[in-house]
């Protein structure tokens, strides 16, 4: 069965410092992986996706993620945090049939000035 583990439920950074949100996945096949962001009381916005092309994926707002098959990881990074990055982030894997998404439990990112 496919699963996703977000290793930190809460990450706090200072504005201008790097962001690292960690995600490990479990899958018996080559998965599609996504990161979504949700700002307070808002819907979900796609940050980036991996679909077996380049292992380093660039997304919106300066975020990127690297697919590492040997480590079964898909960590999300950003070189310099901005106050507007404060939100909840979800790492997501597609199921084996590619018919639905399986969500991690989320990481809340706090950014202080």
């Amino acid at each position: 069965a496919q699963s996703v583990t977000q290793l930190d439920s809460h990450v706090s950074v200072s504005e201008g410092t790097p962001v690292l949100l960690r995600c490990n996945y479990s899958s018996s096949y080559s998965p599609s992986l996504f990161w979504y962001v949700q700002h307070p009381n808002k819907g979900l916005q796609l940050l980036l996706k991996y679909t077996s092309a380049a292992t380093l994926v660039k997304g919106i707002n300066g975020f990127e993620a690297e697919f590492k098959k040997s480590e079964t990881s898909f960590h999300l990074t950003k070189p310099s945090a901005h106050m507007s990055d404060a939100a909840e982030y979800f790492c997501v894997v597609s199921d084996w049939a590619g018919t639905a998404l399986i969500f991690g439990k989320g990481t809340t990112l706090s950014v202080s000035s």
Binding site: S9, S32, G43, L46, K49, F90, L101, I102, F103, K105
Partner: protein, 113 residues
């Protein structure tokens, strides 16, 4: 985005009453999904549809039913609402091809009192 509209956006209902949530899309996508979001759980799949009259259960389908009589509409019904079904409900569609990915609606906040 993707012409997904959820209705209503907010609803308060009493325990034991039936409730129907509607998801409407304007782009003729085959796959549609209903998820619920609860703190600490991320999003969990309730039901999904892969065509008109073709539906299947997700991880948390007990107490819910769905119908899809037209490509553009996917209805979620709580047959007899319970307080444990207080949640935020999201509809999603899957894009295939070069724009592969999933797009979510704005959500319906349901409170069962």
């Amino acid at each position: 985005d993707a012409g997904i509209t959820q209705s209503p956006r907010h609803k308060v209902t009493e325990t034991g009453t039936p409730v129907t949530l509607r998801c409407h899309q304007t782009e003729n996508h085959r796959y549609m999904y209903w998820y619920r979001q609860d703190p600490g759980h991320g999003l969990r799949l309730i039901h999904y549809s892969y065509g008109v009259k073709d539906t299947d259960k997700g991880e948390v389908s007990d107490g819910y039913s769905v119908s899809r009589s037209k490509t553009e509409d996917f209805l979620l019904t709580l047959e007899s609402a319970t307080s444990s079904q207080t949640s935020v409900y999201f509809c999603a569609i899957k894009r295939d091809g070069v724009n592969y990915g999933y797009t979510f609606g704005s959500g319906t906040r349901l409170t069962v009192v």
